[in-house]
Amino acid sequence: MPSMKVVIDEARCKGCALCTLACPKKLIRMSEKLNRQGFLPAVFPEACNQDCTSCALCAQMCPDVAITVQKEEKGGAQ
């Protein structure tokens, strides 16, 4: 499994969906499964990793600071 550029802390997420609004590539979707807090959390699907530019706009927008973003280093090592 490649390491994921966007990691969403499922337990912290309150399902507000503001991150889905922020992503210019619409890579984030909302889960249909409740988290421990009783919210439907945001999900960054593994299949989207390649398309993600690590722009971190999703993380900027998150009121609960539940998103961490990583960028591939030059040279492309994963």
Partner: protein, 245 residues
């Protein structure tokens, strides 16, 4: 892989009590970013107000003084004068700053007190269940204006960033929003600048941040975020109203 976005060190790694989509959490993050940016976490003293942001001390990894409702600018004045080497900020809602605490904020600004004031305008009293605030928009329904705010009866929403800018003691006054990535980046810059003013002893700096209250507006987070753009920004224009060099 290199980390390009993570939680600022000045923000404790805990869950908040804020409602889903409430932008208090985002504004907390921007304030923590500013403290990290200037490396002032250890010398910063926050002054909390009464409202949904009352738990400042639970969320920021700094020292916090709790002020009575509206009195944060008076408390911050004392803290900063007693410890001028510290970095002091207040964090206040619109019920706190623009209603019960109007006098304190006006006089602190007018005296040119050298601290940073963060003003979260969500057009309502959030904590107590959505009563009308001085910032409630004309026609806006609230618990105490069920037919909508009637300006003939209740007066007009107060544009605090402009009011504060008009005082000679104020060095910096801006209004920003956090409803889009572009506005969030601008808000982050403005908050950093407001801290910079204080750290350079340039005097009173005021940042009004337009914020949402999905719970008391009776909207989901996305609709509340949209309301900031369509209803709040047209009345509360974003901009820099004072920037003393």
């Amino acid at each position: 892989m290199k980390t390009v976005f993570s939680r600022p060190a000045s923000l404790k790694d805990v869950a908040t009590h804020f409602c889903p989509g409430c932008q208090h959490g985002l504004i907390h993050r921007l304030v923590a970013d500013a403290m990290d940016h200037f490396g002032v976490q250890q010398q910063t003293i926050g002054v909390a107000s009464v409202g949904c942001s009352v738990f400042l001390y639970e969320y920021f990894d700094i020292d916090v003084v709790e002020a009575p409702h509206g009195r944060a600018p008076a408390v911050a004045t004392g803290v900063k004068r007693a410890r001028p080497e510290s970095c002091v900020f207040t964090y206040q809602g619109d019920g706190d700053l623009a209603a019960i605490g109007t006098s304190e904020i006006i006089h602190a600004a007018n005296r040119g007190e050298n601290f940073t004031a963060l003003f979260v305008n969500n057009t309502t009293y959030g904590m107590t269940g959505g009563q009308m605030a001085p910032t409630t928009l004309p026609g806006q329904r609230s618990l105490t204006s069920p037919e909508g705010r009637d300006v003939a009866l209740d007066g007009y929403p107060m544009r605090m960033a402009e009011v504060i800018a008009a005082l000679d003691g104020t060095a910096y006054s801006v209004r920003v929003a956090v409803n889009s990535p572009k506005n969030i980046l601008a808000a982050g810059k403005a908050i950093k600048k407001a801290f910079e003013y204080q750290l350079e002893n340039k005097g009173f700096a005021f940042v009004e941040v337009l914020s949402s209250c999905p719970t008391n507006w009776g909207m989901d987070a996305l609709a509340a975020n949209e309301r900031v753009e369509t209803e709040m920004i047209p009345y509360f224009n974003l901009g820099t109203f004072k920037e003393r060099s």
